[in-house]
């Protein structure tokens, strides 16, 4: 059921990013919202649950983008691994650092894109819009990144509770809501 939740949320974000967002100039430099999902998985879910989801998200994005194949898979995996490593010595979940986690993820993703372009022999200079675009994405991530993380957590918890209640009702057990 948890994977169904991830599939629905990811599909919604993917469709939003590819079909709705490009038609709204205000959101032109919005950061990749799937990074927020990746960070959420890294912060709040076990690795064995998060890794397949992160891989599938990256695979889907790689197929929808003109980016070199693997860019999204690897950037999400690096972000996920980075969060897991960070959590071994610093719990950012309840602190102000939560504001900077998404922004750091965005930086990792963008620098990986840039490194790929350079490693691929692109003779384009650093695009004029790169630093500006990166700055805007960074600001978006600072402002709404933590909100997304909290929203995902809230929705996920309620979704699981709702599902457990349905299952309990179906099997004749007291539900979580009614057991109080």
């Amino acid at each position: 059921m948890t994977y169904l939740f991830y599939a629905i949320i990811s599909l919604g974000i993917l469709v939003w990013q590819t079909a709705v967002q490009p038609q709204m100039p205000f959101f032109r430099w919005m950061y990749d919202l799937l990074v927020s999902i990746t960070i959420y998985l890294g912060l709040y879910r076990p690795a064995r649950e998060g890794l397949p989801v992160v891989f599938c998200l990256g695979f889907a994005m790689d197929n929808f983008s003109a980016a070199p194949f693997g860019l999204y898979i690897t950037s999400y995996l690096w972000i996920f691994a980075g969060i897991k490593w960070l959590m071994t010595f610093l719990d950012v979940r309840g602190s102000l650092l939560l504001y900077f986690v998404t922004a750091a993820g965005i930086l990792i993703q963008n620098f990986l894109s840039l490194a790929t372009a350079v490693a691929g022999g692109s003779d384009l200079p650093l695009p004029e819009g790169f630093t500006r675009g990166l700055f805007i994405q960074f600001c978006w991530a600072l402002v709404i990144g933590p909100l997304f993380l909290m929203a995902f957590r809230w929705i996920h918890e309620h979704f699981e509770k709702w599902w457990m209640d349905r299952m309990a009702e179906k099997n004749g057990y007291p539900t979580l809501g009614k057991s109080k």
Partner: protein
């Protein structure tokens, strides 16, 4: 001999290096693996549904709230139509003359292009890369490499095809390249993606005469785009004191921010060098 920490650091550096090498290799190829097509097939219908819904509401807005401007616009269009008809008559004469002269010179007759209209259902999720998804795929005869145009000019080429959907790499993407000519002087070069919504016209010799406002058209020599398709207008020329090439910026005629429908050329009739060799 080595501490665990230094082995870990070296390991991470190695993984990063392998990662970058892998990405630089895949950046030269524009096609997804087999399962990738399944992803396109599964998710594109949702994109299509959302895009149609947006277009539906937009059309309601257009039809019911912009009626005030319709009358004025109608008069302007009537005027434009008259001018266009006059121009059309003149062009017919030119066409007839062209046909006569071509037959005199024993030229092959141009093959009529078969085009397939397609609707844009999705755009690239990344601001750094430029591609679109269209609602036509294998089922409609689309195949990899077919050129895609809009009424204003060249849009891009098909890079990936699923059953009912296809991905199109736009000419403004940094990985896109097409052989092109300056229409006025026949100066040759390669049009590739530049900054923002612009293109760069690379490898144009310094001695060539290129001016701002010149039209750039496809040369037909890249084996993808037929000859003579409008690409864009020269928007800037920089001749440095050193180097054998000049830097030419091209503003594409197609407005990539507002792409809604495109045409896929099904029989591009380009030169097939491999067969000729």
């Amino acid at each position: 001999m080595f501490s665990r920490r230094s082995v870990l650091i070296v390991g991470v550096i190695l993984v990063i290096a392998v990662n970058l090498v892998f990405l630089s290799v895949t950046s030269t190829r524009h096609s997804s693996f087999g399962p990738g097509r399944i992803v396109l097939t599964l998710i594109s219908p949702f994109q299509s549904g959302v895009t149609h819904t947006i277009h539906f509401f937009r059309s309601i807005w257009g039809h019911y709230f912009n009626l005030v401007n319709v009358s004025k616009k109608n008069q302007e269009l009537q005027q434009q139509l008259r001018l266009t008809l006059e121009k059309n008559h003149a062009l017919k004469e030119v066409e007839l003359t062209n046909t006569r002269l071509r037959s005199l010179l024993n030229f092959k007759e141009g093959v009529a292009r078969k085009v397939l209209p397609a609707e844009v259902v999705g755009m690239d999720p990344s601001p750094w890369f430029r591609s679109i998804m269209i609602d036509k795929g294998y089922q409609h005869g689309i195949r990899k490499g077919l050129p895609v145009v809009v009424s204003e000019g060249v849009a891009g080429q098909v890079t990936d095809v699923a059953h009912r959907y296809a991905k199109v790499l736009l000419i403004i993407d940094q990985n896109s390249s097409m052989d092109a000519l300056v229409q006025r002087t026949r100066a040759r070069g390669i049009v590739s993606g530049g900054e923002e919504q612009n293109c760069l016209f690379r490898y144009v010799l310094r001695k060539e005469d290129v001016k701002i406002g010149d039209t750039v058209v496809s040369s037909g020599l890249d084996g993808v785009f037929p000859k003579g398709l409008r690409v864009g207008e020269v928007s800037g020329v920089v001749k440095r004191s050193a180097g054998i090439f000049q830097e030419v910026m091209v503003a594409p005629y197609a407005d990539f921010e507002k792409l809604e429908e495109v045409l896929v050329i099904m029989n591009p009739s380009v030169v097939n060098f491999s067969k000729e060799q």
